[in-house]
Structure formats: C-alpha cells, structure tokens
C-alpha cells in the first residue's frame, strides 16, 4: 500500500517540478501514467476513487479549478479498468499507443473545462504530453513492473 502511495507522491513531485517553458509543453503526464499502470496491474486495488483523489491533489498543486483534474483522472481510471485485461495482453508498442490515447483523452477533458472557464490553448500543441508519455511508456512500464515485483505488491 505504501509503495503504491509513494509512486503517486513521486509522480506528483515530478509533475510539479519547475521546468523551462519549452519543456513544459512536452512534459510527460507522470501522474496519469502511474494511475494507468496501477489500474492495469492491480485493478482490484486502484480504481476510479484513487483517480479522483489523485486528480484533486493535482488540482491543489496546479491551482486549477477544483475537480478539473479529478474529473479527467476518474474517467481515465474507468477506461483503464474496462480495458485492463486487453492491455495486459498487448505488446509494448500497442500498449504505448493505447496509453497515448488515454492520456490524450484526459488532456482533452482538461482543455474542455479550461475552455469553459478561462483561456484554453489555441493549437493542438496541448496534446504533446501524450506523445512524450507514449514514447516513454515501454521503459516506464518495465520500471514500474520491477518495483511491483521487488516489493511483491498484489
């Protein structure tokens, strides 16, 4: 349990790291990636509620509207839970594509709300984090699996 919590906290730390503006656009969505991993690996322990609270923490850290990330994260957890059996059988490439798609969905939801309440991006560049997350996914997956096996989390 503590290890799962720790990975989430670490992902939030990575997400809140100050970066130069150019990198900011392409920063991988660490927290979302961790959430997707745990939903696939341990669907009976990490689910929609975990996504909701993770999103709430992101909102508090970002200063975005309370519930904005929470909504996106719950939806992502839901979809990941629907797909986890299929995702487990996918090859690395196929899995990475799927993760890219999921993260695009979460970014899109975030942008919808952003558009309704304040100013949103005017280009599709806001989808860049999905691309970088997708490229990093195979290595990220192996790393997380090592952690899971090392600490024997079931």
């Amino acid at each position: 349990m503590f290890v799962i919590l720790f990975t989430f906290v670490f992902a939030l730390l990575l997400a809140a790291m100050p970066l130069p503006d150019t990198f900011l656009w392409a920063q991988p969505e660490w927290a979302t990636m961790v959430l997707i991993y745990w939903c696939i690996a341990l669907p009976h322990r990490v689910g929609v509620l975990a996504g909701f609270f993770l999103g709430l923490c992101m909102d508090l850290l970002d200063g975005s509207l309370l519930g904005q990330n929470a909504m996106a994260m719950s939806v992502i957890a839901y979809v990941a839970l629907l797909l986890y059996q299929r995702m487990r059988n996918y090859g690395a490439l196929q899995q990475a594509l799927m993760v890219g798609l999921l993260i695009s969905i979460s970014l899109l939801i975030f942008q919808w709300v952003q558009n309704l309440t304040s100013v949103a991006a005017d280009t599709l560049a806001f989808l860049l984090p999905a691309v970088t997350s997708m490229l990093l996914w195979p290595w990220f997956f192996i790393g997380m699996r090592t952690i899971r096996r090392r600490f024997q989390i079931h």
Binding site: V9, L12, L13, A15, A16, M17, P18, L19, D21, L24, W25, Q27, P43, H44, G47, V48, L49, G51, F52, G55, L56, C57, L60, L61, D62, G63, S64, L65, L66, G67, Q68, A70, M71, S74, V75, Y78, L81, L82, V113, Q114, T117, S118, V119, A120, A121, F126
Partner: protein
Amino acid sequence: MFVKGPSLGLRLLACLVLSLALMFSDYRYQHMDQVRSFLTVAVTPLQWAVDLPNRLWSWGAATFSDRNALLAENALLKEQALQLSSKNQRMAYLIAENLRLRELLNAKKPNKDRFLLGEVIGLDADAFTHQVLVNRGRRDGVYEGQAVVDALGLMGQVVSVSTYTSRVLLAADTAHAVPVLINRNGFRVIAIGSGQVDELMLSHVPDTADIRAGDLLVTSGLAGRFPKGYPVAEVSTVRHEPGKPFATVSARPLAQLERSRYVLMLNPLEATDNTDLSVTGSVSPETKAQE
C-alpha cells in the same frame, strides 16, 4: 470482475457528479476559497519538497563557494549599496519637498507602504497560466488581492492563500489586469496580461492618445487594489491600424516575472503569529517610481 460494492459505472458517475459539483462551486462561489486553502495545507509538504533541490543547491553554492568569489560579490554589493544610498539622499530631499508642496496644496500625505519579504518556492507547471507559489501565507498576514512587487516593478497579485503558502497571479497572465497611468502625462489605461511572460497589452487606447514607445507605466491606484506609483511596464510598440478604432499597444513588464526569487508583498495584515523570520519594513512608492 474483482470489483466489490457498487459497480464500476456507478463509481464513475459518483466521481463525475462530485467533480462537476466541485468545479461549479469553485467557479461560482467565493466561499470555496476557504475550502481550497484548507485542503492546500495537505499538499504543502509536496510543494516544499519540490523546491528542496533548489534550496539545497543554493545552500551548497553558498557553503562551498570560494573566498575570492565571496569577496568579489561583497565588493559589488557594497558598491551597489553606496550607489543606492547616494540616490536615496537626493530622494529624501525630493520627498521632503514633495511633502511641503502637498502641504501648501492642502493635499493628503501619501501613505508609506509596508511590505513583507517572500520567497518564490514554486512555479506553475502548466503552460497556460502564469502563477508562482510564495512561502508566505495567512499566518504571515497575506490576503487575497494583495499586490506583489519585486525589486524592479509590479509582479502581480495574490489569488489564493493557504496557511503557509500563497499563490500569486503574475501580471502577464491572461486573467490579470491592472489600472496604470503613463508617468509622463498621467494618461490612464488598463494593462492586460497577454499570456506571454514578456508582454502586456494596453486595452482601448484611442488612436489619438499621446503614447509612444519607451513610456513608463506606473500603477494608478484607481481600482483600490494596487497602491499608487509602482512601475509596471515600459511601452514597447504602438501600432496604429487605419481600420480599427483603437491603437494596438504592447508593453514589456519591468518586473522579472519568470526570474525573481524574492518578492515584496505590500501592506500585509497584522500577522497572527509573529515569527522572527518574517522580514518587514517600509518602502515609499515615490522612491520606486523615480527609479
């Protein structure tokens, strides 16, 4: 399926409804700010942890820097102090004169602004908003709407306060506007953030207005939110377009919005808990405007 209790869809529905309700009330109602400031305390350790490498680095740099570098820096600072104090001498005379003239005119004496020194501990990891996190909160007397300046000009204003930290909306954010006047002739305009950290836009400037590149814009104090006389920006370009009723004027903020580490928060409330750490003092806006 492994799911026990309510079904997956039901859980999603509950979370969706909850987050929609949260968003709606956060967007609409003022009192949600208190809930947010209460919840933010929970993530404050995270915010500190993010800043930790930075602080360790500057601590290490200060501890292990060599003697010559420190001596050189010391000499430079002494020179700066000398320069500033010589400027200040003239300023003292000008302020006294200004006061005498104001007395002759029976005008009200200008208030001196008090300030609280804060340190930026976090930047916003979001490309669409320009906010910074400062290590001063309600405990130190920070309040919402408080004006924040750095050594060179106006930074922005406080938008949310929690117990130990507060969030400052920078003047360059698209949600930020500040009433300013042109120092040269007193013409009043409103400077709106453009979303780019090095640009402000001036809205509704008539084509015939006397405004040109290089004009200094200072806060006018008219909205009652920002104290009068703090430098905000310098006009960079003025474009007259024949088809449009207003001129397109952009200005460059004087404050180092993306670089300043230390900020001054103006006129803090009386701190509820006085710690020795909080450096307070007073600064007169006239002095700054002349610089």
